[in-house]
C-alpha cells in the first residue's frame, strides 16, 4: 500500500502496539491478557508494518526468522513444563519461587514457571502467525 500517511503513521503505531502486546502478556495473570492475546497483538503490529513498508522490511525489523521464533517458543513452553520434574511434581505443574518472602503476600515478586510458559505461548503465536503472513504476502 503506497500511502505516505499510512506508512508514517504505521511506524509509530507499530511500536506502540508492540509494547502494548508485551504489556498484555505480563498483566495476563490477574487481568485480561496473557500470552495468546499478547502474541496476537504482537503479530498484528508486525503485520501492519509489513503492509506499510513491505514484508521484507518487516522481516528485517523482526531480526530473527518467525519460524525459528515459534520453535523457540515451543521449546521454552516445554522447558517450563519440564522444570517441575526437578521438584518431583507431575509434568507442567506450576513452580513458584518467592523473592523477599515466603508467600505471595509477603514476597516482593516471584519467579515462576507459569509466566515462562506464557512467554513461550506468546512467541509461538507471534512466530506462527507471522511466518504464515509473511509467506502469504510474499507469494501473492
Amino acid at each position: 500500500m503506497n500511502s505516505i500517511i499510512f506508512t508514517a503513521g504505521a511506524r509509530i503505531l507499530v511500536a506502540l502496539v508492540f509494547v502494548f502486546s508485551l504489556f498484555m502478556l505480563l498483566r495476563g495473570h490477574h487481568l485480561p491478557g496473557g500470552g495468546f492475546i499478547g502474541g496476537l497483538l504482537g503479530a498484528i503490529s508486525f503485520i501492519v508494518y509489513a503492509l506499510a513498508c513491505g514484508s521484507e522490511e518487516a522481516r528485517k525489523a523482526l531480526r530473527v526468522s518467525p519460524e525459528g521464533l515459534a520453535m523457540v517458543g515451543l521449546g521454552i513452553a516445554l522447558a517450563a513444563g519440564l522444570v517441575s520434574a526437578l521438584f518431583g511434581d507431575p509434568l507442567f505443574t506450576g513452580q513458584w519461587y518467592w523473592v523477599g518472602g515466603d508467600s505471595y503476600e509477603t514476597a516482593l515478586f516471584s519467579i515462576n514457571s507459569v509466566l515462562v510458559f506464557d512467554i513461550g505461548v506468546y512467541l509461538v503465536v507471534l512466530g506462527g502467525i507471522l511466518s504464515l503472513t509473511f509467506a502469504f504476502d510474499e507469494e501473492t
Binding site: 487481568l31 491478557g33 496473557g34 492475546i37 519460524e67 515451543l74 506464557d118 513461550g120 506462527g128 509467506a135
Partner: protein, 762 residues
C-alpha cells in the same frame, strides 16, 4: 558400498570412536552379569512409565536376553570399529555412526524389555533405525525402494504384533513378560489362537520367513557393516528372539508346532537352495542367513531340551561365523572391488589373514569338528530326532545343513584357493580395524567349540532355561557324544555337502532356470504398491475436487446430519425463546450481526463481504463483553482483525465473484445455511435450558487464587490448570503455520491458485 570412501582418509574421529567405546563398555557391563545369570538369578530393572495403563519401563536380564545382549554389544563394537575404517572419509559417516548406534540401543532395549509395550516400542525403533541404515545410500533409488520395502513389511508385522500383545496383556491382566511366562502355557485359553497368530505375523515378517522373505536379500543394499550387523547377527533375529521369549507361554499347542516347523523348514531349505544360486557373495550370505532363521524357527517349534539347545547353540554359532563372513566379504570387496563368485579366487597369497579367518568361519559354518558349528549340528540332529514330524524335520535339516556345507565352501574356500578371474583391483590385505572384528569372532567360534562345557554353562544352558521356563539339566554340548545317529547324519551331511560343492556351478544354472519360472514375490510387491497408489490417486480425484465451495458444502452437510440425527433419536424436551427483558443495547448488537450477515449474502463485492464478516465478528465480540468474558472478547476481536487484514491482502489480488456461475448453487447454499443455523440455535437453546452445572466454575474460582496465585481465571486455566492442553494447542499453531508455509512456498513449481488461507487458527 564403499565407493564413496577414501582409503587414505583418517578414520579415527569423535563420533565413531565414542560409539565404539560406549558399545564396548556395555559389552563389559553385560559380561559382568554372566556368572550371576548362569547361577540362575535373573536381574530385573524396572521404572514406572505409565502406571495407570500398567506400562512399565522394565528390563529383564536372564539367560536368553543376556546372550542376545552380549552378541549385540560385542559384535556391535567390532562392526562399528570396522565401519569407521570401511566408510573412512565418507561425507556422511557421522550420520551413519549415529544410525548404527541408535540401532544398537534399540536392539538392546528390545531384547532386554520385560514389558510388552516397552518391547513393542523398541521393536518399532529397530524397524525405523534399520530403515535409515538400509537406505543409507539415499541417492540410489534402488536403495530407497528396498529400505521402504523392509520398513513397510516389518512395520505391518509390527502392527499385528501390537494387536497381539495388547490382547495378551488384557487377557492375562499383566504386561510383564516374566509374569506371563511364569504362568505357563496359554494353550486352550480364550483368544490363544488369535494371539499366537498375531505374534507369529510379527515374528515372521521381522525374521523374514517365507513368504515374507524377499525383503531381506534386498536389504543388502545397505553398506556391508550394516548387513553384517542387522541382517545376520541382530535385527532379523528379533523375530526369533520373540518366539524364544514367548516360548513358555505361547508354545504347547499343535498350531505352534506345525506352523513353526513347516514355515521354518520351508524357509531353511528354500533359502539354502537360493544361496547356492547366487553369484554375488553378499547375496549368498544373505540367503544363508535366511536359512539360519528358518532353522532357528523350526527348532523353536520343539519343546524338548535338545531342540531348544539346538536352537540356542545354532543361534550363537551362526551370529559368530555369519558376522565374520559378512565382514570378510566386505574386506574382499574393499580390497578387490568385486564380490562376484566367478571372478574371485586365489586371494590367499595376497590376503593371508583374511583367508585364515574366513577359513575358520567357513569351517564353523560347514560344521566341521572341533568348531562350535559341529556341536550345534550334532545337537540339532539329536533335537530333530525328538521332535514332532520327525522324518520331515530330519530330512529338511539334512538338506539345509548339506547345502550350507557347500555354500561355506563357496564363500570361504573358493575366493581364496579357487581359480582366479580378472579382478578390478590388485588385491591387498585389509587394514587392522577391519580385521580385528572378524578375526576375533572366528577365533571365538573355534574356542567355543574346544571348550563346549564352558560355552554351555555360561551361555547356552541359561538361555535354554529361559526359553524352557524351567532350569535346564544341561550336559548336551559335547565334541564327542559317542557313535550315534546324529554322528551318522553328520557324516552324511559332509558327504552330501561335498558332492553339492563339486557340482555347484551346474546346480546354480539349473536353479536359476527354475527360479525364473517361479513366482516373483518381489515384483508382486511392486505391483501391489502401484495398485495401492492408483487407488490413492483415484480416491483423491473423487474426494478432493479442489473447489472450496464443495468442501464447505460437504462439511456443513455432515455437521447438520450429526446434529439432526441425535435430535431425532433423542428429542429434547421443550425449547423456549424468551425475548422479554432484552435491553436496547442487546437488540442493537443483534441487529448489527443480522445486518452484517445480510450484507455478506447479498453483496457481489468481495471487499464488502469481508467488511460484513468483520461486522458479524465484532458483534459477537460485543456479546462476549456484555456477558463479562473480556479475554474471549479481546481474542475474538484480534482474530477478527487478523482475518480481515489477511483476507484483504489476498482479495486485492483476486477477481470479483463470478456472477454467471453463482446463481446455480445459491438456493442449495441458502437452504443448507438455514438448516445449519437453525439446528445450532436449537441445540444452544436446549443447552441453556438445562440448569447450569457450576461445579467446575466454583472450583476454578476458588482455586485460581489459592493454588495458582492468579486472579484472571481464564489465563490461569490456560497456563496452569490445563497447561498440557495449551501446549498441545500451541504445537498445533506451529504445525498449521508450517503447513501453510510449505503450501505457499513449496507450491512455486505449480501456480498456487486454490486454498488462499489455510491453517487459520480459530
Amino acid at each position: 558400498m564403499a565407493e564413496d570412501s577414501d582409503p587414505n582418509a583418517p578414520w579415527v574421529n569423535v563420533a565413531g570412536m565414542t560409539t565404539v567405546a560406549i558399545t564396548a563398555a556395555l559389552f563389559v557391563f553385560f559380561l559382568l552379569y554372566v556368572p550371576e545369570v548362569a547361577a540362575g538369578a535373573p536381574v530385573l530393572w524396572s521404572w514406572d512409565w505409565i502406571p495407570s495403563l500398567q506400562i512399565r519401563m522394565s528390563f529383564w536380564l536372564d539367560g536368553l536376553s543376556l546372550m542376545f545382549a552380549l552378541l549385540i554389544t560385542g559384535i556391535g563394537a567390532f562392526v562399528m570399529l570396522y565401519a569407521a575404517r570401511y566408510l573412512a572419509g565418507h561425507p556422511q559417516y557421522n550420520r551413519f555412526a549415529l544410525y548404527l548406534f541408535s540401532f544398537m540401543l534399540s536392539m538392546l532395549g528390545l531384547v532386554l524389555a520385560d514389558n510388552l509395550v516397552t518391547l513393542f516400542v523398541f521393536w518399532e525403533l529397530t524397524t525405523f533405525t534399520s530403515y535409515l541404515l538400509i537406505g543409507f545410500s539415499h541417492g540410489d533409488p534402488k536403495s530407497r525402494r528396498n529400505a521402504l520395502q523392509a520398513l513397510l513389511l516389518t512395520a505391518a508385522g509390527g502392527l499385528a504384533l501390537l494387536a497381539g500383545l495388547i490382547l495378551l496383556g488384557m487377557t492375562q491382566g499383566t504386561f510383564e513378560i516374566s509374569e506371563i511366562n511364569a504362568a505357563g502355557s496359554l494353550a486352550g485359553e480364550p483368544y490363544y489362537l488369535l494371539i499366537l497368530l498375531l505374534f507369529l505375523a510379527g515374528a515372521f515378517t521381522k525374521s523374514a520367513q517365507v513368504p515374507f522373505h524377499f525383503w531381506l536379500p534386498n536389504a543388502m543394499a545397505a553398506p556391508t557393516p550394516v548387513s553384517a550387523y542387522l541382517h545376520s547377527a541382530t535385527m532379523v533375529k528379533a523375530g526369533v528372539y520373540l518366539l524364544a521369549r514367548m516360548h513358555p507361554s505361547l508354545s504347547g499347542s499343535d498350531v505352534w508346532v506345525w506352523v513353526l516347523t513347516i514355515f521354518g523348514a520351508v524357509t531353511a531349505v528354500f533359502a539354502s537352495l537360493m544361496a547356492l544360486r547366487q553369484i554375488d557373495l553378499k547375496q549368498t550370505l544373505a540367503y544363508t542367513t535366511l536359512m539360519a532363521l528358518g532353522t532357528l524357527t523350526m527348532f523353536l517349534a520343539g519343546s524338548t531340551g535338545y531342540a531348544i539347545t539346538a536352537a540356542m547353540t545354532f543361534l550363537l554359532v551362526h551370529s559368530l561365523y555369519k558376522a565374520c563372513l559378512f565382514l570378510t566379504i566386505g574386506v574382499i570387496d574393499h580390497a578387490t572391488g568385486t564380490r562376484d563368485a566367478d571372478v574371485l579366487g586365489g586371494l590367499a597369497r595376497a590376503m593371508p589373514i583374511t583367508a585364515t579367518m574366513a577359513a575358520l568361519a567357513g569351517l564353523a559354518m560347514a560344521g566341521i569338528p572341533p568348531f562350535l558349528g559341529f556341536i550345534a549340528k550334532e545337537v540339532a540332529y539329536a533335537g530333530a530326532l525328538g521332535m514332532a514330524l520327525t522324518i520331515f524335520v530330519v530330512l529338511m535339516s539334512l538338506a539345509a545343513f548339506a547345502l550350507m556345507f557347500a555354500v561355506a565352501a563357496i564363500v570361504a574356500y573358493r575366493p581364496f584357493f579357487g581359480p582366479q578371474g580378472a579382478l578390478p583391483r590388485k588385491p591387498h590385505e585389509g587394514p587392522w580395524p577391519m580385521l580385528l572384528g572378524p578375526a576375533t569372532l572366528a577365533v571365538l567360534g573355534l574356542l567355543a567349540g574346544l571348550m563346549p562345557g564352558v560355552t554351555a554353562h555360561y551361555l547356552v544352558e541359561p538361555a535354554v532355561a529361559a526359553v524352557m521356563g524351567a532350569p535346564d539339566e544341561g550336559g548336551r554340548l559335547k565334541l564327542w557324544a559317542g557313535f550315534n545317529l546324529p554322528l551318522v547324519l553328520s557324516l552324511l551331511t559332509f558327504a552330501l555337502g561335498f558332492f553339492l560343492y563339486l557340482r555347484h556351478l551346474d546346480l546354480r544354472a539349473r536353479l536359476a532356470r527354475i527360479e525364473a519360472r517361479g513366482p516373483n514375490l518381489d515384483a508382486r510387491w511392486d505391483w501391489l504398491l502401484e495398485r495401492f497408489m492408483d487407488f490413492a490417486k483415484f480416491q483423491t480425484r473423487v474426494i478432493q475436487t479442489g473447489v472450496m465451495r464443495q468442501y464447505l458444502f460437504a462439511t456443513f452437510t455432515v455437521l447438520s446430519l450429526a446434529i439432526l440425527v441425535p435430535l431425532i433419536l433423542r428429542p429434547v424436551g421443550g425449547v423456549t425463546l424468551a425475548f422479554a427483558g432484552l435491553s436496547l443495547i442487546e437488540w442493537g448488537v443483534a441487529f448489527l450481526i443480522a445486518a452484517g450477515t445480510i450484507l455478506v449474502v447479498l453483496t457481489s463485492s468481495r471487499i464488502a463481504a469481508l467488511v460484513g464478516l468483520g461486522v458479524v465478528g465484532i458483534g459477537v465480540a460485543l456479546i462476549f463483553i456484555m456477558y463479562s468474558a473480556p479475554d474471549v472478547a479481546i481474542t475474538q476481536l484480534l482474530v477478527e482483525l487478523l482475518v480481515v487484514v489477511l483476507l484483504a491482502v489476498a482479495l486485492l489480488k483476486m477477481p470479483y465473484l463470478d456472477p454467471s456461475n453463482r446463481q446455480v448453487h445459491r438456493p442449495f447454499d441458502a437452504a443448507l445455511a438455514v438448516v445449519v443455523g437453525g439446528l445450532t440455535t436449537i441445540v444452544l437453546l436446549a443447552v441453556v435450558d438445562v440448569p447450569f452445572d457450576r461445579r467446575l466454575t466454583d472450583f476454578f474460582e476458588g482455586a485460581s487464587w489459592t493454588e495458582a496465585f492468579g486472579r484472571n481465571i481464564v489465563n490461569v486455566i490456560l497456563v496452569d490448570f490445563r497447561t498440557l492442553d495449551t501446549f498441545g494447542e500451541i504445537a498445533v499453531v506451529i504445525v498449521a503455520a508450517l503447513g501453510a508455509y510449505a503450501l505457499l512456498k513449496g507450491g512455486s513449481r505449480r501456480a498456487p491458485e486454490d486454498e488462499p488461507a489455510k491453517g487459520e487458527k480459530e
